[in-house]
């Protein structure tokens, strides 16, 4: 009896044929909408840091080397491939590629480093304030206006020296009525 059942099994197996993928020797296409390794387009990137602010795994680091050079480091090892950075990017500089063959012996193979030249203000020659975290904060931020002389006094020289207390003080600023007051 066991022999007939084995023969029956063989006949059953012949019908579907081989289902095993010949994967490592032939490429296997990924489904539509698959999110693999994100890739940066450094020609489009404006260095706003939205991706770094929104990354749930905190894989994107920003470092300002000097006034107009900003370095962004993406540590791909810890990435969850959620696609959040590609969603928030205002310039569509980040795309989720379909590359998943990322196995490696070293963590450093997964990193992306990007050096960006930051634009400076035409009037004062300093970088724009980039520390503001989201769009709502950005709307509350008092922008640089040429007629607002009080704001010019508190405009941050660089992000390290920026103090929110200074900004609050400028809200209560009263213009002197007489010279020397």
């Amino acid at each position: 009896m066991w022999l007939t059942s084995k023969i029956k099994q063989v006949l059953l197996v012949i019908k579907p044929g081989t289902v095993t993928l010949p994967y490592p020797f032939e490429p296997h296409p990924v489904p539509e909408g698959y999110r693999g390794q994100p890739s940066w387009d450094h020609h489009k990137c404006i260095g706003c840091g939205g991706c770094a602010a929104h990354c749930p795994a905190r894989t994107i680091f920003i470092r300002d080397l000097c006034q107009d050079l900003r370095v962004m480091v993406y540590d791909g090892g810890r990435c969850t491939y959620c696609g959040r950075c590609a969603d928030v990017c205002p310039e569509k500089a980040i795309t989720m590629t379909k590359n998943y063959e990322l196995a490696t012996g070293s963590k450093k193979d997964l990193c992306t480093t990007m050096e960006l030249f930051m634009a400076t203000c035409n009037r004062c020659g300093r970088c724009y304030e980039m520390e503001t975290k989201n769009a709502i904060d950005r709307m509350n931020l008092k922008g640089y206006r040429y007629d607002n002389l009080e704001m010019r006094a508190v405009l941050p020289v660089c992000t390290e020296q920026f103090d929110t207390g200074m900004l609050a003080k400028s809200d209560r600023f009263k213009r002197p009525e007489r010279i020397g007051e």
Binding site: G77, E101, A103
Partner: protein
């Protein structure tokens, strides 16, 4: 004789011990998925064994949490030499989202030396097969560090250099 033949045909049959060090089971399901007939890894001689003493390779999944740290170390010590360790998933590489959490030790490489990393959250079964095939030398490595640089000139620096060059031209004419 059959054993010798098997050694020639399959010189590198890896027996795998699957070690979950506090993973969310996503990676574990993908590891089990690799064993199904669709992604059959037994054609490479890979087999999951129940004891670390029988294993050549340890597959670690999960950021090594504080309670599992001594257990992972003991399982690693129990494996006979030579041994390989594969980190499956992003958690093993640097702790993933819990990189700065108090309860994980920040990746499997903090606990045991890891030879190969397979990133992904969870990695596709193909990605795990790719990692194993990379260790066996069947496929070339594709991942490499990327460095991007904006080659566009910062304009004022360009103008400053231009002015300096123009001044020097005059000095050269005077010579």
């Amino acid at each position: 004789m059959l054993a010798n033949l098997a050694k020639k045909i399959l010189p590198r049959s890896l027996w795998v011990y699957h070690c979950n060090s506090g993973a969310c089971n996503g990676c574990d399901i993908e590891i089990l998925n690799v064993l199904t007939p669709y992604y059959d890894v037994e054609r490479f001689g890979i087999k999951v064994v129940g004891s670390p003493r029988h294993a050549d390779v340890m597959l670690i999944s999960g950021a090594v949490t504080r309670p599992t740290l001594p257990l992972v170390k003991r399982a690693y010590d129990a494996m006979p030499n030579p041994k390989l360790v594969f980190g499956i998933g992003s958690c093993t590489i640097g702790g993933n989202m819990w990189a700065d959490s108090y309860n994980v030790c920040g990746g499997a490489d903090q606990a045991v030396p890891v030879n190969y990393f397979v990133p992904g959250c969870p990695p596709r079964p193909e990605a795990i097969i790719y990692g194993v095939a990379l260790a066996l030398g069947l496929v070339p490595q594709q991942a490499a560090p990327v460095e991007l640089k904006q080659m566009e000139f910062p304009i004022d620096m360009y103008e400053r250099n231009k002015a300096w060059e123009d001044r020097n031209v005059i000095y050269e004419l005077l010579k």
